[in-house]
Chain length 202, copies 2
């Protein structure tokens, strides 16, 4: 299994954002949504072996974690607006306010209270990596998996407290390349590296 955990320090954990101005009203949830596309979608179909977690640290309902599992998800469209509508539906409602386990809100889409620790608890025995520019070169870390989880920050990066939690769990810093790129591009590059290894072509 492949897991991507995108930490949005200010990304809205509530549905009170505008579809017409996602970057301005959602705490940059748009970054996480683009990571959902990059992590889960192929040209024609879903990656069934991928789970994407969006750790949402913004707004009155934070912290919450939105989990999208390729194994169970349906009707995932690639465009940001469609993904935002899906996220808004999943984030609506109050009945799960105290749920610290993941509660499925839509097929393959589940929500839980909590921050990065909630995602960590859900990962099982996956090897943990945190993407950062000063980390070890992705291409030279072998093996990466087979069960691996990659933690990424959005444009604001990962804060000290979350870094400490990841370090305490033994997460290994990993770099995808020499430039500072968008989170969704890093997801695409990690996915490509794993695809190549799975195919014996790396």
């Amino acid at each position: 299994m492949r897991h991507f955990v995108v930490i949005g320090r200010e990304a809205k954990a509530s549905p009170d954002f505008l579809l017409d101005d996602l970057p301005g009203t959602s705490g940059r949830l748009d970054v996480g949504l683009r990571c959902v596309r990059a992590g889960l979608l192929l040209s024609h179909g879903l990656r069934r072996d991928v789970v994407v977690y969006l750790v949402l640290g913004g707004g009155p309902r934070a912290p919450r974690v939105l989990r999208i599992r390729g194994a169970d998800a349906r009707f995932l469209r690639p465009d940001e607006r469609s993904l935002a509508i899906l996220a808004r539906k999943a984030l609506a409602g109050h009945e799960d306010t105290d749920a610290t386990v993941f509660v499925e809100r839509r097929p393959g889409i589940a929500l839980a209270r909590g921050g990065i620790e909630r995602a960590l608890a859900d990962l099982g025995a996956a090897r943990l990596y945190v993407l950062e520019e000063s980390g070890d070169d992705l291409r030279r870390v072998d093996p990466l998996g087979p069960d691996a989880a990659f933690f990424l920050g959005d444009h604001t990066g990962i804060d000290g407290a979350d870094r400490a939690k990841l370090a305490a769990q033994g997460a290994r810093p990993l770099s995808v390349g020499p430039r500072s790129i968008h989170a969704e591009d890093a997801v695409a590059i990690v996915s490509n590296e794993l695809d190549r290894r799975d195919a014996g072509a790396s």
Copy 2:
């Protein structure tokens, strides 16, 4: 210089699409717009050495080519809606109907009549590559540049006529990996490979 040429066979060459339903009304211009983001934007800033061409084959004004140059562009935002608004502004107006040269409509954003041949004529002496799954492995083609142009199709692929034009110009088929992925992810992967080589880290 790095050039990405995204061929949207049905992508609207006119501004008559809905921002609230890009996939359903723009002939999947959303794919091209995501390639603009992946090709041109870094975490904090623009890639000045990149040009992205969107070859637009759909609607009454087709064919037209929209060119976005990192060297001159300003105010590029990463979200699809903002990019769609920019494209809509650039595609509006009739004064350029007969312009077969690129006419700048916004800083760094220019428009010309024509299809893939218009992009080809603008590329100068760049090495030409066409991304396809059966091509040579990107990582094993060396050198790729320094001046390189990568042609990609959207979800509909590249048609026979355009393939023939590219073959006649000596474009080399190139594969980024074993899975069939979205065009914007391919742009991210090619960019990463070029970044690594530029940094001497490939």
